[in-house]
Symmetry: C2
Subunit: 122 residues, 2 copies
DNA sequence: AATATATACATAAGCAACCAATATATAAAT
DNA sequence: ATTTATATATTGGTTGCTTATGTATATATT
């Protein structure tokens, strides 16, 4: 007799739409605190720091990185590592300033959200 | 002689993009805890609870209310109060369930965001 | 040798959510 | 008479994200 075990993987779908405007802030902050990061590394770091619950897709990340670079908040340096190109991103001075500003705005917004949703009392 | 006082109102513009997909959650939660609310009242409550820092515009609110009603999460009852029509919104049973779910998802997201932005240590 | 997985960057199409502006209308205040 | 506050609603536009696709190399598996 053979026992068949059916494993149902229920992908929650709850992963969706949870970034919403805070993506550039997250990217800037991560790059700032690690000194330099490349795109793929950022996706993995976000996944790791959120226990796999937030998955940063490339379609969202790369346009955001390019935009932040165009705005003068990030600089790049491409290196070849193990046969593959890696594009490292660094904060510019302006990038450091805007990061601090964006992080504090997000912190304020979180406070408001907690008040509106009665999360303070939890 | 007449002294003209020019008052320059500098609208910060920082009000922008601060709702971030949490609008329907906020609306549902507020209506749920007050029992019933009408649109204008919601805009004023959000403004009051956030010390004027989050301004919920009508162009965002009314489509959201209509959508939540169409989805079966809100019911309405129109009353005439002091000559003006007021459209009160109530949570349906489904609305109560989805509110609890959305609030806990938002709470989880806030936790992730705080970790990514190093806000825990503040 | 062939295939799959992980690494690494990137773009295109499309949709949902939000903002700014506008519209209508009544009541109260100046 | 005009402005402000109350009250609901729509339209047009933009941004930000998702899904899907594309390219390419290195490593692991079969």
């Amino acid at each position: 007799m053979v026992a068949y075990v059916y494993i149902f993987l229920l992908y929650s779908g709850m992963n969706k739409q949870l970034i919403k405007g805070s993506l550039s802030t997250i990217v800037l902050k991560l790059v700032g605190r690690e000194g330099r990061m490349y795109g793929y590394e950022i996706t993995q770091r976000v996944r790791q720091l959120t226990d796999g619950q937030i998955r940063l897709t490339e379609g969202a990340l790369y346009p955001t990185l390019h935009k932040l670079e165009a705005e003068g908040y990030l600089n790049t340096k491409t290196e070849i590592v193990e046969g593959r190109a890696r594009k490292y991103y660094y904060l510019t001075e302006e990038g450091e300033a805007i990061t601090a500003q964006k992080v504090s705005e997000t912190a304020a917004f979180i406070q408001h959200l907690q008040k509106l949703l009665n999360l303070n009392t939890l």
